[in-house]
């Protein structure tokens, strides 16, 4: 396999958008945690699918349908292999990570009753909070949330383990926090959950594609992520599990492809995983996503991770040099995913994002879909910079310069 070094032009050159300017300046894209940019190989694979092979899947016998089905199922196999997951039959393709979590929450509804418990953390993204709030409302299940240290961003692991008890049915937690950057001890939580007979859902939206992630080592029963945060197309997410575990979920959406036999008043379901994929899937996205995984493997996931750690170190150092900023999450660059969120008491995140944008720097401002987490921090919003394989040290410098400019603009 081709070998690529990160932080070399060879990688950047593969992402066409990085050549564009914003307000007359080169784009400095520091918003990968919201969505990653896509390499030309992915864009081209998606276009090639439409130009050469496009058809609906499964139900078709003709050549295009066979090719489309091959591409679609190929993605399932590729994702299972990429994560070392048991196999393609445990991989469900959804619209995004959010839909995958909702699928599990709705799918488990028939197994839950009043007083059953769901254990989460306070640092979850809304995607791993709201579906459970809705589920609790419908079933009378009780939500419990483990906290974290607002200084270090560290999960209260002992507290979380104590929350897990005989009535716990599901334990959900984020692998890498999209605000703190904290990497959670998923395997330890999973072990405690399994001892209690609970299922474990890991939100790996910020880890897959950014560090080596091995499904069997996490101990997750359900792992979810989105292709678009992993250099792949939008409109494609994954629920990774095993066929036996998926068997416990009631199919949520009804329609074509997911049935075996349909009567007017009754239906039986297709095999796993098809019973969770109602209607025409996003075949074009599935055909293209493997090209993103190819690129990541050509670089090597350990190298990708090292690169992001180096950027973390550079960012923490550079932001500290500016003075007066409160960086949230772990100080150790190796203890966080590839992102740094901070509060500048002199410049509100909204103003920060607007002003650094005029320098070509794209950062995200707000609650990053994590309102409860921000409340623990005593903040309403933060500014977040996040990176990927294409981010350079110079871009971190550009961010620092732009922050200084923002402070001057605000007369701070």
């Amino acid at each position: 396999m081709e070998t690529l070094l990160v932080d070399g032009e060879a990688v950047r050159a593969r992402f066409p958008i990085l050549g564009r300017t914003v307000h007359g300046r080169p784009l400095v894209y520091l918003d990968t945690a919201a969505t990653a940019q896509r390499p030309e190989a992915v864009i081209e694979a998606e276009a090639a699918y439409s130009r050469e092979h496009n058809a609906n899947v499964h139900r078709g016998i003709h050549t295009l349908a066979e090719e489309a089905t091959g591409a679609y199922e190929g993605c399932r196999r590729r994702v299972a292999a990429f994560l070392g997951a048991p196999g393609p039959r445990g991989v469900v393709m959804t619209r995004n990570a959010t839909a995958a979590i909702n699928l599990v929450a709705r799918g488990l509804e028939h197994t839950l009753g009043a007083g059953d418990e769901i254990v989460l953390t306070v640092m979850e993204h809304h995607a791993n909070l709201v579906p459970w709030i809705q589920l609790a409302r419908r079933t009378g299940a009780v939500l419990r949330h483990a906290g974290f240290d607002p200084e270090t961003g560290e999960l209260d692991l002992d507290g979380m383990i104590r929350l897990i008890g005989p009535r716990t049915r599901l334990v959900g937690l984020v692998h890498v926090s999209n605000v703190l950057g904290t990497i959670n001890p998923v395997a330890e939580v999973a072990e405690a959950a399994h001892r209690a007979g609970a299922l474990v859902l890991v939100d790996a939206a910020q880890s897959v594609g950014h560090m080596p992630v091995a499904y069997p080592e996490l101990g997750a029963d359900f792992l979810v992520f989105s292709a678009h945060k992993c250099y792949g197309p939008m409109g494609l997410g994954f629920l990774v599990s095993t066929p036996e575990t998926l068997e416990r979920l009631e199919p949520v959406e009804g329609g074509g492809e997911m049935i075996e036999r349909v009567e007017l008043d009754a239906a039986t379901w297709a095999e796993i995983p098809y019973r969770f994929e109602a209607g025409t899937p996003n075949v074009a996205a599935a055909a293209a996503f493997p090209a993103a995984l190819d690129l990541l493997e050509a670089i090597g996931l350990p190298a990708v991770r090292e690169h992001e750690i180096a950027l973390n170190a550079r960012a923490v150092e550079t932001l500290e040099r500016l003075g007066g900023l409160r960086i949230v999450g772990p100080r150790d660059p190796a203890a966080r995913g590839g992102l740094v969120a901070f509060d500048d008491p002199l410049v509100h995140p909204h103003d920060m994002a607007t002003i650094v944008d005029t320098r070509g720097v794209a950062v995200r401002a707000g609650h990053h879909c994590a309102q409860p987490l921000h409340r623990v921090l005593g903040l309403v919003a933060t500014t977040r910079a996040s990176w990927g394989v294409y981010t350079t040290g110079d871009e971190i410098e550009a961010l620092a310069g732009a922050i200084a400019f923002a402070r001057r603009t605000m007369g701070a």
């Binding site: 307000h23 103003d351 309403v380």
Partner: protein, 150 residues
């Protein structure tokens, strides 16, 4: 878009209101309290009104927001203090129309608020400028109408 007029957004008068916001002191005995939220960023604002019949005797604008919403809230405090509820509603409605591009700024006398019309060049920030005013219109004035009637 190649260059962007940052100084149209952060005009001196806005920065001044942002640095020295008016009406930041919580009222001791508010007749009306109303809260507004910008869901896309989480910014919140709380408005307090003290009424004297149908007149706004005093006003406070609380909560931490960005420069644009802080300045807008500060201007709100200045502009509506001493006005009747109807006058305050008229100003708020006119400002909303201007910010949504439904009226030209020249058509209406907005005072300091005029400085905020530069925000229209930054579509995602319009909500920031409107946050205190929408809270006034949709929530505080409705409550004030009831309080007045009581």
């Amino acid at each position: 878009m190649s260059t962007i007029p940052l100084d149209e957004l952060y005009r001196e008068v806005i920065l001044d209101h942002h640095r020295h916001p008016r009406g930041r002191k919580p009222l001791a005995h508010p007749d009306v309290e109303a809260a507004g939220l910008n869901p896309s960023c989480g910014d919140e604002v709380t408005l307090q009104l003290e009424l004297d019949g149908d007149r706004i005797a005093d006003v406070a604008v609380l909560g931490r927001g960005c420069a644009v919403s802080t300045a807008s809230g500060s201007m709100l405090a200045e502009l509506i203090r001493g006005r009747t509820l109807d006058e305050a509603r008229a100003i708020a409605e006119r400002f909303r129309e201007v910010m949504h591009g439904e009226a030209a700024p020249e058509e209406v006398d907005l005072g300091d608020l005029e400085a905020l019309t530069g925000v229209r060049k930054f579509p995602v920030r319009i909500k920031c400028a409107l946050l205190p005013w929408v809270t006034l219109l949709d929530d505080a004035l409705a409550r004030a109408g009831e309080a007045d009637r009581d």
